[in-house]
Symmetry: C2
Subunit: 167 residues, 2 copies
């Protein structure tokens, strides 16, 4: 358990961290804002999925996800195929053009980070990634569904507060 002064400092760092995100956003293609880039990157990493799953990975409301998805679909970077198992759902899938876009995005962000972090060691970058991942987990675990089947078939009784507008 850390101390109060540390939490205040951490809150300050989180508040100021937007500047880094904005810098990273400035290198994006003009037709692919951050929201669209997030959609493409996650589809590339995790493969085809439904809207609800994507909204969960993005940690935003599904209404927001829907807009981002519409944007990238209009540009031909993804396809929305009907889900044979549930006619309400749609399966999102990267098109070849979308995959190309993902490569471009990856190249741009990697170049910027390689330039900015040229004096960072491999280990330091790894440490930061590890701690950021853990911080996200510490926040996300209290609202993301964790009702995944265990090896015994039991499910964790976690209250599910999805990324859904309360109806």
């Amino acid at each position: 358990m850390a101390q109060q002064a540390q939490f205040e400092e951490l809150a300050r760092q989180l508040s100021a961290f937007g500047a880094v995100k904005r810098d990273l956003g400035r290198i994006l293609p003009s037709d692919c804002p951050a929201g669209s880039a997030g959609v493409l990157t996650l589809l590339s990493r995790h493969g085809d999925m439904r809207m609800s799953k994507l909204a969960e990975l993005l940690s935003v409301d599904m209404s927001v996800t829907s807009r981002h998805v519409t944007h990238v679909a209009e540009r031909g970077w993804i396809e929305r195929a009907p889900d044979p198992a549930d006619k309400r759902s749609r399966i999102l899938r990267l098109t070849p053009a979308g995959e190309a876009k993902v490569c471009e995005l990856s190249r741009r962000s990697t170049e910027l980070l390689a330039e900015r972090l040229s004096d960072w060691s491999d280990d330091e970058v790894g440490q930061l990634i590890r701690l950021m991942t853990r911080l996200r987990a510490s926040f996300g675990d209290c609202r993301t569904t964790h009702s995944r089947a265990t090896p015994t078939g039991a499910t964790a009784p976690v209250i599910e507060t999805t990324t859904r507008t309360p109806a």
Copy 2:
């Protein structure tokens, strides 16, 4: 120098980090959004300062700073005193009500972090703070003015790209 796969992962973490910031933003008082909270916190930490200095600390354009400052001034949390040394400038100063607001903000964010990071060690939180600070520096150093006098009186010849709208 880190590897390409690490940079891709770091870019993903940065992209997803907005969720943590949003969680932190949800605990703010309804009359004090994140922009206002940033102004108050920085004034509390660094003491009285001018608009331009505040904009630099916030890493946003001065036009943005001006709006946030107007918001907190209208609520009586800061005062804008004329600068005797330069009639164009104004000195920003926290009022007692502003100091009280800072305490409330600090209390709220500290409580949330203490709850979410209850299983983090003191050292881990310190590590995260250190690495986030360094990452911000690695990004900010290429646009913040560093023309500070050295012990010998010389100044670093760094191109100054301030937080100013190009006129």
